[in-house]
Each structure stands twice: as structure tokens, then as C-alpha cells.
């Protein structure tokens, strides 16, 4: 590893709701959702950082804010020494040759009216990477073979492919400009188990071949545990814990990480494991809880958790977590009362 390829500092993304005329006249404040709140993280060159969290926690928004597909509200993203948040739109477009994304939904993310040659070839045109139509077709055909499709399928339309094959098309499109960094936004979540395994294998092979760095967003802890080097856990727009994947999965320190891990049904354990049942639903991000945002569902919450937000503290090598009760050595699996 040769240092951080990507540095995210204090990144926030707030969506502001539209105001009615009456609301404006009455001087009301518009509703605002803070989807990503003051997130900082580093991604080393050549590593896979896994980002886990449940729906609505802001993990996809974070991925898109890093690429400025959604403009960040605050904070800075430095990519290979360049502050990308300060780039002009034209310079940002050029930078996207090196920063790409693979989307979750292989159905919605491909234009149904374009052939594979057009879809996968577009980045080449945008970045002026192909000299002439014939050369472009040839590059696309090579890329198709690399992602496990046939060069002969180049003139087909997306609907002529299965879900797994479409995801391969999305991967070809992301990699054809030879990027350094790819945001994989739930790339296998919409696929069946056996197809999912094929795509995971492919992403690993391509990472080696093209020396890629991934931000791998997923709600599936098994996938992250298998694939990632480090992992960051998000809850309601904040990173509550991050560290090396072995450490976080075997010794999770934040009660949210602990409950997330214990909720995953495991194939190995036929006997029912002692599960911690989180009560209640994810609070609305429109009206997030005070203090620690997890306190409304946390079995360990005490008074201070309702009043003040905890800061991230180091708990091991490269491992940190944000919880007021970190140093009491508690685990929610012992019911939380033992201290």
C-alpha cells in the first residue's frame, strides 16, 4: 500500500425540501434531510473498503457525493492529491475517467434503446480515448470478453441479456476508461445467489488485473466480510465504527454493529444463536434523534446518550467507534445490564 488514494474529510450532504408559498410568507424554514453527516474516511490504494448499513442510512448518497454525482453540501474529497470538490464541472467530468461507479440495478442503469457497443463505448467517446469508430468497437469487444461476455454480443440491446449479464455490461462500462477507483454500489444485491458469486469473483479478478481500488457499498455483511479489507458501518448518515474487517466482524465495539452482526441468519449455525432483537424501526432522517442517533434502538443507552453525540475513539489498530460506553466492555449480547 502506498498511502491513501482517496481522502474524505467532513463530507455532508443535505437535501432541502421545497417550500410552499405560504410557508415562505410565514418565514418557515424548509425541511432538510441530512443524508450524510460529517463523514471522514480514507481509502488506501489497492484496497477494498466495505461500507455497510441498512436502507436509508446514507451509504449510496455517500458514494455518489464522493463522485460528485450528488454535489456535497460540505466537506472535501481528495483523490490522488487533487481536491475534487474544488474542480470545475468540466475538470470533474475529465476526472471521472479515473473515478467510476457500478450501480445496483442492472435493469434501470442501462439505456434500453442503446446497443452494448454504444453503452460501453460512451466513456471512450466522452474522454476521447478511441480514435475512430472501428478502434472503439474493438476496445469495447475486448472489454466484453474481459467481463465474461462474448464479443459477438456487441450489437445487442440490454433486454436481450439476463440480470447477471447486464451487471457485466455495467462493469464493462465502468472499467473501459481504465479508472483507478470504482464505487461499487450494491452491485450484487439484485442478483440470485449463484449469479452473485460469479459477479463477486469477476470483480475480484478485475481488481487484480486493472489494479483497482473499490469502495464497496452493501447491506450484506457476508459479502463485505468475504471481500473487503476494511469496513465502515453507517447509521443514519454517520459512520459509527470502522476498522480492519476481521477486527470489526469478530470484535464489533459499537452496539449497532453488534446487533447488525447478530441479526444475520447464518447457514453454519443450525441451532438458533442468541439473537439481540433491536426494537423499533430506523428513525426518520427528517427528524433524527438527539445525542447519539442510535439511542432510540440501543439496549445499552443511558442518560448521556440522549444528550450528547459521541465522538469516534480508537479502540484498536486502525479500528475506531463512536459510543459513550465503549470503555465499559459491554456487549449487547449479555443483555446490557452486566457492567
Amino acid at each position: 500500500m502506498t498511502g491513501a488514494l482517496l481522502q474524505v474529510e467532513g463530507l455532508s450532504k443535505t437535501y432541502v425540501g421545497r417550500m410552499s408559498l405560504v410557508g415562505r410568507l410565514l418565514g418557515r424554514r424548509p425541511t432538510a434531510v441530512r443524508a450524510v453527516s460529517d463523514v471522514s474516511l480514507d481509502i488506501e490504494r489497492g484496497e477494498i473498503l466495505g461500507l455497510i448499513g441498512e436502507s436509508g442510512c446514507g451509504k449510496s448518497t455517500l458514494g455518489r457525493a464522493i463522485l460528485r454525482l450528488h454535489e456535497p453540501s460540505a466537506g472535501r474529497v481528495t483523490f490522488d492529491g487533487t481536491d475534487v470538490t474544488a474542480l470545475s464541472p468540466a475538470a470533474m467530468t475529465a476526472m471521472r475517467r479515473r473515478m467510476q461507479i457500478i450501480f445496483q440495478d442492472p435493469y434501470a442503469s442501462l439505456n434500453p434503446r442503446r446497443t452494448v457497443a454504444d453503452i460501453v463505448g460512451l466513456p471512450l467517446q466522452l474522454h476521447g480515448l478511441a480514435s475512430g469508430r472501428a478502434a472503439q468497437r474493438e476496445t469495447v469487444a475486448e472489454m466484453l470478453e474481459k467481463v465474461g461476455l462474448k464479443a459477438g454480443q456487441i450489437d445487442r440491446y440490454p433486454h436481450q441479456f439476463s440480470g447477471g449479464q447486464r451487471q457485466r455490461i455495467g462493469i464493462a462500462r465502468a472499467l473501459i476508461s481504465r479508472p483507478d477507483f470504482v464505487v461499487c454500489d450494491e452491485p450484487v444485491s439484485a442478483l440470485d445467489v449463484s449469479i452473485q458469486a460469479q459477479i463477486i469473483q469477476l470483480l475480484q479478478d478485475l481488481k487484480r488485473e486493472f489494479a483497482l481500488t473499490y469502495l464497496f457499498i452493501s447491506h450484506d455483511i457476508s459479502v463485505i466480510g468475504y471481500l473487503a479489507d476494511r469496513v465502515a458501518v453507517m447509521y443514519l448518515g454517520e459512520i459509527v465504527e470502522q476498522g480492519p474487517v476481521e477486527a470489526v466482524l469478530s470484535r464489533p465495539r459499537h452496539p449497532y454493529t453488534q446487533s447488525l452482526l447478530s441479526a444475520v441468519p447464518k447457514v453454519e449455525a443450525t441451532a438458533r444463536t442468541d439473537r439481540v432483537r433491536l426494537t423499533g424501526d430506523l428513525p426518520s432522517p427528517l427528524n433524527p434523534p438527539s445525542g447519539c442517533k442510535f439511542h432510540t434502538r440501543c439496549p445499552l443507552a443511558i442518560d448521556i446518550c440522549r444528550r450528547s453525540a459521541p465522538h469516534r475513539e480508537t479502540v484498536g489498530q486502525g479500528h475506531d467507534a463512536a459510543c459513550h460506553r465503549l470503555h465499559e466492555g459491554l456487549s449487547i449480547t449479555d443483555g446490557g445490564s452486566a457492567a
Binding site: E54, G225, L249, P265, V267, R277
Partner: protein
């Protein structure tokens, strides 16, 4: 064991399409014992949902059930009139759908939707008048409370969009359970949900099964869910059952190459650094399939002798496999 609650024999459900005849379910046998939880695993297109839509009598043209018996408590549901089937559906067998948002009526309050079910199927209610309305309301409140919706009294007046995904799934379960069915078919009840909410919903189903003594069929693609909640499991592939047995045995020592492939495909933290071994290729098109092993094109163990119809064979106590590579248990 007493008589099985549900016994499906030789079920074949086909859809006539312009491209040809799609045999979505081809010769499926399923047995559900009273009080048990049966897991049904398979990928998209395996026929798991169509099998149970057939049981519920929900197949509409161009689909039709071509052959087979569906015995519920000894009665062949295929012989019932539409009206008789309507009475069975909901009262004796209830089904919850994967997507609660589209399964619930957006224009009716949750209370109205539970009341509809009770009106149609609950024979213990008072005959009419305000006493009946009161009783229905009380039962609806009870059902919402049972599935863990806080302040059920107030929430009866709310519409589906006012609930979160996990709560909507629980409301659908409440509606399904309102008539105290003897069999609950839960089609991917947690696929759309986050893991922490998934755990809540599955524990709720376990809990109610134990309390009401009903049987549950859990249709899922997640072998982890099956491992933790089901007594027995059947594995489906391309419209057929390929393996059946007690969950621990099937997951612990899978006998069909497809089941083995599925288990090997699951990424696990314990396998870090080792390549996963995905099943190559994809599920075949179900149009005009030749009568041969349907997995052979993707199977690492396939040979020319697999290109003929393969029957299920017994390979152990309660275990059956549709594969000629698996030695059959020596018969008595």
C-alpha cells in the same frame, strides 16, 4: 405422524406464451406436516412461488394447472368450486406476498383491510349490529398488537403508506393471521427488509406458529434464513424439486450438485482470500425443455447418462434427491 396438512402430488403448472409452453412447475411433490415449518429454497425461475400460487388457486390464464393433486387435510382443492375455494383461501390457508406495499390496498385503512378478512372468514363473531362491529374492531386491535405494532388502537385508522416497510410486512402477516389459518404461506416475507427488521419479522412468525400451532411454508432464496427457522427444506431448480430433507442434514451434507453449488456460492467471511466457486452459466429457459436433468448444463458431474428423465430417489431418512450420481439408499 398424523395425516399431512398439505400434500401436493405431481403438480404441473404451465403458461402458454407466444414463445412456447413454459412449464414453470413440473411434477412437484410437497408435504407439509401439522405444526412444521417447511423451507422452500430456489433462485428466480425455480417455480417456488408458482407452486404455492397453484396451491392457493391463484393461477390465472395464460397459466393453468395441467396435472396433479393438491390435498389439504385430505380434500383435493382442485375439485372445489370457486366459491368453496374462496372459503378455504384466507380461512384455512393464508399467503403473504413479498412486496407488502403492492399487496396492501393503498386506498383503505389498515383497520378496514383486517376487518374485511374477519368479515369474510370469522364465524365466531356476533351475527350483526353494533356488537359485531365492536367485536371486529377489538379483534383487529388484537391482531395488530400480536404482530407488535405499537399503539394499535390509533394505527388502525392509518393507511399503508404511513407505515415503514417492516411494519407493512407485519400488517400483511396480521391480515393473513386474522382468520387463524392452519397453514401460512410466506412468500419471501423478508427479502425487501433490512437484516435487523428481518430478524424481527421471522421471530414473529416463529412465535405465532408456536402459539397457534399452525404450519408455515417459508419461501426464500436465503439458505441462512432456512437454517435458522425451518425444520425441513426442499430445494427447487427450474420447476422441479431437486432435493428434500431435514434442514440440518441438507445443509450439513448436501447431496445434489445444485444444492452444493448454492452453498458454495454464498460468500462467507470465513472464506476470505479463497476463491468462491460459483455455479457456472445460468438457469435454463423453461420453454419446451427436453425431458432430462435440468441442471446438467451447469453441473460439474454431468455425463451423457444425465440426458434422460431423472426421478427423485430416497437417500436417507426423510431425504430425497433428483440425481443419478447420488447412490440410493439400499432398500429394505
Amino acid at each position: 405422524m398424523s395425516r399431512p396438512l398439505l400434500q401436493v402430488r405431481g403438480l404441473r403448472t404451465v403458461f402458454d406464451t407466444r414463445a412456447g409452453r413454459v412449464c414453470a412447475v413440473d411434477g412437484v411433490d410437497v408435504t407439509v406436516e401439522p405444526g412444521e415449518c417447511l423451507g422452500v429454497v430456489g433462485e428466480s425461475g425455480s417455480g417456488k412461488s408458482v407452486t404455492f400460487a397453484s396451491v392457493m388457486g391463484l393461477i390465472r390464464p395464460p397459466g393453468r394447472i395441467e396435472a396433479g393433486e393438491i390435498l389439504f387435510d385430505g380434500v383435493d382443492l382442485r375439485q372445489l368450486s370457486r366459491r368453496q375455494m374462496q372459503a378455504v383461501r384466507g380461512r384455512d390457508i393464508a399467503m403473504t406476498m413479498q412486496d407488502a406495499l403492492t399487496a396492501l390496498n393503498p386506498a383503505l385503512t389498515v383497520g378496514t383491510q383486517i376487518a374485511e378478512m374477519l368479515e369474510a372468514h370469522d364465524d365466531e363473531l356476533p351475527r350483526g349490529g353494533p356488537a359485531r362491529a365492536r367485536a371486529i374492531r377489538a379483534r383487529a386491535v388484537e391482531m395488530l398488537g400480536l404482530v407488535g405494532i405499537p399503539s394499535p388502537d390509533d394505527r388502525l385508522k392509518q393507511y399503508p403508506h404511513e407505515f415503514s416497510g417492516g411494519m407493512r410486512q407485519r400488517i400483511m402477516i396480521a391480515i393473513a393471521l386474522a382468520s387463524k389459518p392452519r397453514l401460512l404461506i410466506a412468500d419471501e416475507p423478508t427479502t425487501a427488509l433490512d437484516v435487523t427488521i428481518q430478524a424481527q419479522v421471522l421471530e414473529l412468525i416463529d412465535d405465532i406458529r408456536a402459539r397457534l400451532g399452525m404450519s408455515v411454508v417459508l419461501i426464500t432464496h436465503d439458505l441462512g434464513v432456512v437454517a435458522q427457522h425451518c425444520d425441513r427444506v426442499i430445494v427447487m431448480y427450474a420447476g422441479q424439486v431437486v432435493e428434500e430433507g431435514p434442514t440440518a442434514a441438507v445443509i450439513g451434507s448436501p447431496r445434489h450438485p445444485y444444492t452444493r453449488g448454492l452453498l458454495a456460492s454464498i460468500p462467507r467471511p470465513a472464506l476470505r482470500g479463497q476463491p468462491i466457486r460459483p455455479i457456472e452459466g445460468q438457469v435454463p429457459e423453461l420453454i419446451d425443455l427436453p425431458p432430462q436433468c435440468r441442471f446438467h448444463a451447469r453441473c460439474p458431474e454431468a455425463g451423457p447418462d444425465c440426458l434422460r428423465p431423472i426421478e427423485m430417489r430416497r437417500v436417507g431418512p426423510g431425504r430425497q434427491v433428483r440425481c443419478i450420481r447420488t447412490p440410493a439408499e439400499a432398500g429394505p
